[in-house]
């Protein structure tokens, strides 16, 4: 199995831990992110935003353009079986990659904009992106059970998997992958 992770975090502890575990289970893991570093056992493909962003939201959206462009380039070399995006800020690129490769999409939310207070000017857009991601994903992984309360009624129950980052959580994520691939 070959999995493509998409994140806007420079060093995602979630993907780093999951990737290291998966690499040990013969899953080939690639991550596209704005990093300068490396992650043990994971193929890291760094991307950078070369334009100046007016605010955080714009920077994330410009980064998503780069995530998609990098993924399109990688598909010339690698055949991915699954796309896994982390948080709202990687949702546009995750959806685009899933459509481009015609492969299932998994998204992970550590929290939602409503839980964070939804108090900044872009909150409505962020909420929309979260809903887009939940709608397009085959499985939505939540790392906190309380988030499922927020998504109740908006995302079908059978699509939601609550997998807190404790114990053998990575194995549970692998089981999710196994159901989709």
């Amino acid at each position: 199995m070959r999995v493509l992770f998409l994140t806007t975090k420079m060093q995602s502890s979630y993907f780093e831990s999951l990737g290291r575990f998966l690499a040990g289970r013969k899953v080939e893991v690639h991550v596209i992110c704005p990093t300068h570093g490396s992650m043990e056992g994971i193929h890291v493909h760094p991307v950078h935003v070369n334009l100046q962003a007016n605010d955080g939201f714009e920077w994330y959206m410009l980064l998503n353009v780069e995530l998609v462009r990098c993924a399109a380039e990688l598909t010339k070399t690698y055949a991915f079986d699954l796309i896994h995006g982390e948080e709202w800020c990687a949702i546009p690129a995750s959806i685009a990659c899933s459509k481009l490769l015609e492969k299932p999409l998994v998204v992970t939310f550590h929290s939602t904009e409503i839980e964070r207070g939804a108090r900044w000017p872009h909150s409505d857009l962020i909420r929309r992106l979260e809903m887009d991601g939940a709608k397009e994903a085959s499985i939505v992984i939540l790392t906190h059970a309380k988030t499922s309360e927020v998504l109740k009624g908006e995302v079908p129950k059978e699509k939601i998997e609550v997998i807190p980052m404790e114990g053998d959580w990575q194995l549970k994520v692998l089981e999710v992958y196994g159901r989709l691939v």
Partner: protein, 383 residues
């Protein structure tokens, strides 16, 4: 060729001239045997318009703090839709203006297709300088579009030089192709003049967004001077949203008699076309105008134009033959040229006929589409 056209506006959703441009170009390309799919904003999904397939994507009712954020959301929706259509086998992407640049950059790479980018105007020109963070973001996206594109098109020759200077675009990928016009539309007219002016009044027409770029401020200052020389003139101002119209109407009415200046707001196309043909002259007082489609529409209606010596208006108007030039941002110049034409309506009618000849010869959509298809061929390395 099979073309995927990206535009944030497309009829019936019209804000500026881009919708009209994309519609005219897509129809002419289709007539010439190309297959055109237009991906644009709006609800309603997929529709067919005389051989063109239009796909509309709707970001939904969402509160965006600024137009750039909204454009990113639209772009991501466009990408999702375009990737669903990849089996169509497009050969080329043609993106229009900065709003579609993020989508164009992603699709160029994802679908591995050449990109043609039309820059209809520049942020620098529209707002008179890059003074705000929002303008800076828009200008950056314009630059990014020109950088990523295999071929760049501007709609005017002065705009071509402006874009080259602003965005350091290499000469070999920079082209100018004018806007076109559907002259046939101007043969089906209704009698609408009575709705706007008495039959003894001389109708002076302004059409456009009510904003600084279009020179409405200077035109309003010219109105008292026009009415002083020609009390029989009637000024008709078409276009503008409610807020802009209320503002400019108050300014105009503080300077000249209310009954002599009529702000109509938005008019449906059928009425506007008839009004162009039944006006005595059209004033295009733009401060910045990469092309000036209002001038072409007026000429198609056989009505002479008084227009600023700026952008493509420099070349569309041949002084004394199909219209008159004015100095830019100069109410005295606007008034004196308007008065010259109002003093000799016979001359105006003769100039109107010449204007019609010019648009029929140089600005039919079929001509514009041939030139554009030539640029597509270059992007595809066909020649």
């Amino acid at each position: 060729m099979k073309i995927l056209m990206l535009s944030w506006e497309y009829p019936p959703h019209k804000v500026g001239g881009i919708a009209t441009h994309c519609h005219g170009l897509a129809r002419a390309l289709t007539r010439q045997g190309h297959v055109v799919h237009v991906l644009t904003y709006g609800s309603g999904g997929e529709e067919y318009d005389k051989g063109i397939t239009v796909h509309r994507v709707d970001p939904g009712q969402v509160k965006a703090p600024d137009v750039v954020s909204w454009a990113f959301l639209l772009s991501h929706r466009m990408v999702k839709e375009a990737l669903k259509l990849k089996k169509e086998g497009f050969e080329l992407i043609h993106a229009h203006d900065w709003m579609t640049v993020p989508a164009a950059a992603m699709l160029k790479k994802s679908l591995n297709l050449p990109l043609v980018f039309t820059l209809h105007s520049t942020e620098q020109g529209r707002v008179g300088g890059i003074a705000t963070p929002l303008s800076k973001s828009i200008a950056q996206l314009e630059w990014y579009g020109t950088y990523e594109a295999d071929e760049v098109i501007t709609v005017g020759r002065d705009e071509r030089e402006e874009a080259k200077y602003l965005y350091s675009i290499p000469d070999e990928k920079l082209h100018w192709v004018p806007n076109g016009i559907d002259v046939e539309k101007f043969s089906k007219l209704e009698d609408v003049r009575w709705r706007f002016a008495a039959d003894w009044e001389k109708l002076v027409l302004f059409v456009g967004r009510l904003c600084y770029q279009k020179g409405i401020d200077y035109f309003i200052q010219a109105i008292p001077k026009i009415l002083h020389a020609h009390p029989e003139a009637k000024i008709v101002v078409v276009g503008g949203d409610e807020a802009a119209m209320a503002h400019y109407r108050n300014v105009a009415w503080s300077l000249s008699p209310k009954e002599k200046t009529y702000f109509t707001g938005f008019l449906e196309e059928k009425t506007l076309i008839s009004l162009y043909a039944q006006a005595d002259l059209t004033v295009v007082p733009s401060v910045y105008e990469p092309f000036g489609i209002v001038a072409l529409e007026s000429m198609a209606g056989r009505t002479p134009v008084v227009g600023s010596y700026t952008g493509e208006l420099k070349y569309i108007i041949i002084p004394g033959w199909n219209g008159l030039h004015t100095y830019v941002a100069d109410p005295n110049s606007i008034a004196s040229q308007t008065n010259a034409l109002l003093s000799d309506l016979g001359w105006g009618k003769w100039m109107g006929k010449n204007g019609r000849k010019k648009v029929e010869r140089d600005y039919r959509w079929d001509i514009v589409a041939w030139h554009t298809a030539g640029i597509y061929g270059k992007a595809l390395n066909l020649w």
